[in-house]
Symmetry: C2
Subunit: 476 residues, 2 copies
């Protein structure tokens, strides 16, 4: 009876997707709620995923010339107030430090919700000449936003992220960097996380506070809701003018710099869960899995079985492999490996050893493959590649089959009433129309995709002349 | 004239060590002061050192079974108050968050100065049975202590560190882990940072707030002052009792866990600077240097010179190599490479190319070595190993030649009046004696070294019967 508890305790996705999500997050031991309201404890299994994300994303950043730095976590109120749109966007949701030690502060400071203002303040003192440009800096840190409703990974008062902040001599260079980093995010999602994304630009309404343009990658979760998975902002010279960041150019003239910022956060772990997970728990793509292969000995008390399991582990040292040699039953171990989303399970028992083979079970589709022991290394390598490719293909198919087209209001409303997914539709470009859609239907514009199609010449919602094709969706 | 500015701008160590330190930190571009009082901006050259420390220390941690996690950065006041000694130690120097968004908080929270209380609160809910033990968790994060006087790396209101927090079934296991982690720190300092340390136990007066025992590694800076470089605390079951962290043992009895914590911070970068630096700037041990070899082309406008420099870089791809192909003069580039502490400089010009050789200059001792180009890879490898070994030997010699022995008060006072360094002396073990020494002489007990010697049978300061040999010193 106890054997099945782990699996039984999970709500099925079709029954209650939100509860399924919470169950997976808890049962796969990714996070724990903490007594600090709205904040979470990221447990080893969750943090190991974040470490893998960090390492691989950081490598991709550095290949484009990014350098890491660290800025203070506090922002004096006067600094936050320097850029008008920015402070309006963030001031309502920051945490304020008012006392240091036993004394009140002369000026209160917020804990950074994002660090544009700190980087600007730094760049103002550090940039003098065109020789000092570009600055392509990034930091890995935690930020705080005082959210009222919180959900593990998706929305919490404190979360981990990276934030890149760059300064350039020309508007063109800043635009190129903004797009480059969006592509880094998109490629990372597809190649490492097996999550296909839609790349595009946010509308004026949805863009970042203080940005000229915000680019985004939008992913589609299993329940048909969208998740904004990474953003890249072009600030033009707006912050530079607010903060007075100038440099002497080659022509000896004083000019303002052009800036960008871009970020990806622990939110993306929520995407991994909701794109790939199933009713048995987490399903991790091999390239991000902290453990890629779990070897589970069958009848492990029989002589030679555990030794064989360790031997296989040692032979697979090019991969991330563990042996579950605990005193639980094989069935229990299978459930745990499934719940934790470990891509491959190797089953090895006395009969297998005698026959010189083992059974490999794929987490993503349940397929069982008999493998000769002397082919183990190459087969595991092949299978991990196959799992990675198949997971991306499956997610892409889901994205495509859940992307609909609406050309008039009836279709638009019907699709959101009956289906869940993205709806592609033409839009008039007017904020009032977008706001009405959001208010009446709880649907937001996800992005104006870079890949534009002409679906009709009228706004699908209001019928005015169309300006842009937009991806619409309900979102996390 | 401008050529020499970089070097001239540094104060010499002998003239004013404190100013020399500040100059190096600024000129080597490790940090910048920020407009957030008491906080610093860690610039790319400084952060790259921290990344190398993180990566290598983290690897050593994981080899001992450590798992990384992430706890909230806020501690509710009631949680901080749970362990009496601990709150007394930290409450006077924390930053308090009193408002979230636009509303005052029901209970104020401090930004973590250290996370014992958060880990305890988590462990209380997460540990039930002996099967859940040990917990060997660590986190990399920033912490805040509201210091009045601050200095780059050595003391700032916010700093980066790692903090390990473990829970064990027995007191013996906790003690073993405390010692194990101290040894990890000591080995890391010696093997990677080329900094020899004295290992020992802190006195009751100097131990961590809430600990039963604090172990420390103490390093000696070039000016003869000590720097506490890493600490490891055994809490016994004190925190467990304050927080109620209990587990059911194999004998089915409810027991309290035994805990430890241990940390190393960005402070250690201060030690690297002050142990190895010289009047030309920073000197980095090869194993921690972000750039190990700087190739500087001579007469780089002559045909083939830059190409040769790039070719050498590509051949040295097993090392961290850069070419300085900027339009500065070679002399200026030499000064910069020296200021930044890059271990080896490769000089390559038209005559060298013709002769099939180059000149390698060691940063640590200025030695110039002519090397045949076809032996470059092996020679660079050998030289980096040699520099690493020689830097440790030199630092060890300095530590030994600046460690003195006092057997009575006259000697003790004379040594601190005339010399700078550690003074080994017997101590009565009484807090009042230790406090008098600190008050009258500004000298603190650094540690009771594990390696005890019997220098006399009386306390060198008060003459009472001796209990322990202590390392005394002036400290950062």
């Amino acid at each position: 009876m106890a054997e099945k508890k782990l699996v039984e305790a999970i709500t099925s996705m079709s029954e209650d997707f939100a509860q399924w999500y919470t169950d997976v997050v808890k049962k796969a031991e990714l996070i724990d709620y903490s007594n600090v309201k709205g904040c979470m404890v990221i447990k080893p299994a969750g943090y190991a995923i974040w470490e893998n994300i960090q390492r691989q994303l950081d490598e991709r950043f550095k290949a484009t010339g990014v350098e890491n730095v660290y800025m203070p976590m506090f922002i004096p109120e006067s600094l936050l107030n320097k850029e008008k749109d920015h402070v309006e966007g963030f001031a309502p949701e920051v945490a304020w430090v008012t006392h240091g030690g036993l004394a009140p502060l002369q000026e209160r400071m917020c804990v950074r919700p994002t660090s544009e203002t700190l980087f600007c303040d730094f760049y103002k003192g550090d940039i003098h000449s065109y020789r000092d440009l570009p600055k392509v800096y990034n930091q890995w840190c935690s930020v705080v936003r005082w959210e009222k409703e919180t959900r593990p990974f998706l929305r919490s008062r404190e979360f981990l992220w990276q934030e890149g902040h760059t300064a350039h001599a020309t508007a063109e260079e800043a635009e190129a960097r903004t797009e480059q980093m969006l592509n880094v995010y998109a490629d990372f999602c597809e190649e490492v996380l097996a999550i296909p994304v839609v790349k595009g630009r946010k509308t004026e309404k949805e863009k970042f506070a203080g940005a000229e343009a915000t680019y985004t990658i939008e992913a589609l979760m299993h329940d048909g809701k969208a998740l904004q998975s990474g953003t890249s902002h072009n600030f033009g010279d707006g912050f530079a003018k607010a903060f007075g960041i100038q440099f002497t150019d080659k022509d000896n003239k004083l000019k303002y710099v052009y800036q960008t910022s871009w970020g990806m956060s622990t939110r993306i772990i929520g995407a991994i869960i909701m794109v790939h997970g199933d009713d048995s728990g987490l399903v991790l793509p091999p390239r991000i899995a902290p453990t890629q292969v779990m070897i589970i000995p069958i009848q492990q008390k029989k002589e030679g079985v555990l030794d064989k399991a360790y031997e296989l582990r040692d032979r697979l040292k090019g991969f991330k492999v563990k042996v579950d040699d605990s005193d639980k039953s094989p069935g229990w171990k299978f459930s745990e490996q499934e719940m934790r989303g470990i891509p491959l399970r190797v089953e090895i028992g006395p009969k297998d050893i005698e026959a010189g083979k083992c059974v490999i079970c794929r987490r993503d589709n349940g397929e069982k493959i008999e493998v000769a022991l002397d082919e183990l290394e190459s087969k595991v390598g092949e299978l991990l590649d196959q799992v990675q490719a198949d997971m991306l293909a499956k997610a892409r198919k889901h994205l495509e089959s859940h992307t609909y087209v609406a050309t008039n209001r009836e279709e638009f409303e019907k699709l959101f009433a009956e289906k869940s997914g993205f709806v592609k539709a033409m839009w008039c470009g007017e904020r009032a129309c977008e706001e009405e859609i959001k208010e009446k239907m709880s649907v937001s514009s996800r992005c104006m995709p870079f890949h534009q199609e002409c679906l009709s010449d009228k706004c699908a919602y209001c019928g005015k002349p169309a300006k842009k094709m937009v991806y619409w969706g309900r979102a996390y």
